[in-house]
Amino acid sequence: MTDTSLHRRLPDRLDTPLKSAVLSWETLLVLVAIGIFIANSIASPYFLNAWSLSDMTFNFTEKALIALAMALVIITGEIDLSVASIIALASTLMGLVLNQFGAPTPVLVLVGIFTGLACGAFNGWLVTGLKLPSIVVTIGTMSLFRGIAFIILGDQSYGGYPRDFAWFGQGYVWWVISFELVLFLVAAVIFYVLLHHTNFGRRVFAIGNNATAAQFSGVRVDRIKFVLFCLTGLMSGITAVLLTARLGSTRPSIAQGFELDVITMVVLGGVSILGGAGSIIGVVLAALIIGLVTFGLGLLNVPGIVMTIFTGTLLIIVIALPILWNMWKARRA
């Protein structure tokens, strides 16, 4: 590093955008996704079929919707473990208004969404207002939200959702393109723009990289974190609508264990669990990969639990690979 290499007039960047794109995490994920797609096509004759592929999307769209918002939360260095419980509570309250007051579909949807939002706001308040660590807060609210669902519903279930309500979880917009898939794609675009092309997104990254310095730079850290928890709650509420519509019934145990799948998607998508780095494209690709893996193995009638070995190993390997690669490079240097 000599002085001559320092430019008087500072260039914007040295690497071309293309070069950095080629070397990115997303490229790695695209390659993995293509690999699994090909492997699936070879392994099962039933895979390459429009309806199969359409059915496959149901394996991930709901979780991926939450993963979009969760990615932002994790980028700021926080976490929300309560998403699955928010779904349970939102779904239960939808069932409650339906069965008690015979509420029509639009009201059901609003109840789902607002319950999610309220739960998210509660988490956000505990984290930013009371300055509590989010991992602990959301472990608590995880039991609390689902617990309320159990109190309301006990061993009962709610059913009898109207036909037009079911469309949210079972309907097709066009041919094999389901409403869930369309909603997910639209949400992905919105979140992509939000995170990568707005001031808000820029501040989210700044908080994740260094929350103190961000605050010292005039970023309203608490306000942004609060909004993000609300957003995660909102997406959980929307997911509650989809899932309830797809199942056509509500039990307090609905969506049990979703949270870990969602976080796996986010982390596999290249979002740093320590905060400050990640992309929506990565998360979308990770969701697709998980969908491909689980559906592909399902076609071979591999039990779900064995699939989790694949996803768990994939997670560790994909995270470890770049690290090992860097270590190897450093050793050679």
Binding site: V136, I139, S143, F150, L274, I309
Partner: protein, 326 residues
């Protein structure tokens, strides 16, 4: 100052007492020694696991794989026992501890050598370990009929009126207490949690210390694997599924700080005991079991809010007036 440190545990102990007293009003039999011992015995496994988790959390890490480790070790030991009933139980227990420790070491190595955040590593092994349970068992359960009587009966024996299972918990608690307060290694767990940079300055290898914490939590999970299986006399894929969060909850209620460096053996034990007492009390006083989950969620939130209040009260004082006699 020591008083201040101790208050957290004392408050928790008082809370537990309060629950017991309240329940006793409605149901006198609840506070009979026999019932209290039963609760203690019922909570033994959770107490041990909470101690293992505490060691990991002290080092600013987290182990989400404990319950899966427990299930895997438990399945292995159950299958070994079913196939070779003549292997003496102490040997099996030793084997469990070693297998559990090895699984923990796998987590630890990834955290130490590759510097992958522990939450990612253990999120991965959480699913891998449980998947392996299915793979090795082919999905079949090992049930009471296949286990040897010694295997099942060991923890059910009692000594001085207390079941053997309780002694396991007491032994683990004593060992961890000695480790945490009497050995340089134990203090290293605290040191790297309080201030990792300063720990390096004092010659502590941060990575290696985290590794050892994972080995410890793994070994305890392994031991708990045997105890769990022989207690519930069924080994299946679903054993203790989702229990990892209960373990963390016990730690949090017990005042173990998720940011590392703060936590005591007594706190973790009381945290687990609190959950145990509440779970036992609810059905007895006729509260619907459906309230149980919401109540433990609320308990976690209240505990963490109280702990945070306690911590934020200390502020640095630079005014001579405020410092009093300086």
């Amino acid at each position: 100052m020591n008083r201040l440190l101790k208050t957290r545990e004392i408050w928790l102990a008082l809370a537990i007492l309060a629950v017991i007293v309240l329940v006793t009003f409605r149901f006198p039999r609840f506070s009979q020694p026999a019932n209290l011992l039963t609760i203690f015995n019922d909570t033994s496994i959770l107490m041990m696991l909470a101690l293992g988790q505490m060691a990991v959390i002290l080092t600013r890490s987290i182990d989400l794989s404990m319950a899966s480790n427990l299930a895997l070790t438990g399945m292995i030991v159950a299958m070994v026992n079913a196939a070779f009933p003549m292997i003496p139980i102490p040997l099996l227990i030793l084997g469990c501890i070693l297998v559990g420790a090895a699984l923990g070491a796998f987590n630890g190595i990834l955290v130490w050598k590759l510097d992958i955040p522990s939450i990612v590593v253990t999120l991965g092994t959480l699913t891998i370990f449980r998947g392996l349970v299915f793979v090795i068992s082919g999905g079949a359960w090992v049930n009471a009929a296949q286990m040897s009587p010694a295997f099942i009966q060991l923890q059910r024996g009692s000594f001085l009126g207390l079941p053997i299972l309780s002694y396991f918990a007491i032994a683990v608690a004593i060992l961890v207490y000695i480790l945490m307060t009497r050995t340089p290694q134990g203090r290293a767990f605290y040191a790297i949690g309080v201030n990792p940079t300063a720990a390096v300055y004092t010659g502590i290898d941060v990575g290696r210390t985290k590794f050892l914490a994972f080995v410890l939590s793994g070994a305890i999970s392994g031991l708990a694997g045997y105890l769990w299986i022989s207690r519930y006399v069924i080994a299946s894929v679903e054993v203790a599924s989702g229990y990892e969060l209960t373990i963390i909850a016990a730690c949090v209620i017990g005042g173990v700080s998720i940011a590392g460096g703060i936590g005591t053996v007594a706190g973790a034990l009381l945290g687990a005991l609190f959950l145990g007492v509440v779970n036992n009390a609810l059905p007895v006083i006729g509260v619907s079991p459906f309230w149980q989950m919401a109540i433990s969620g609320a308990a976690i939130l209240i505990a963490v809010i109280l702990n945070a209040r306690g911590e934020s009260r200390k502020g640095r004082v630079i005014l001579r007036r405020a410092e009093g006699v300086a």
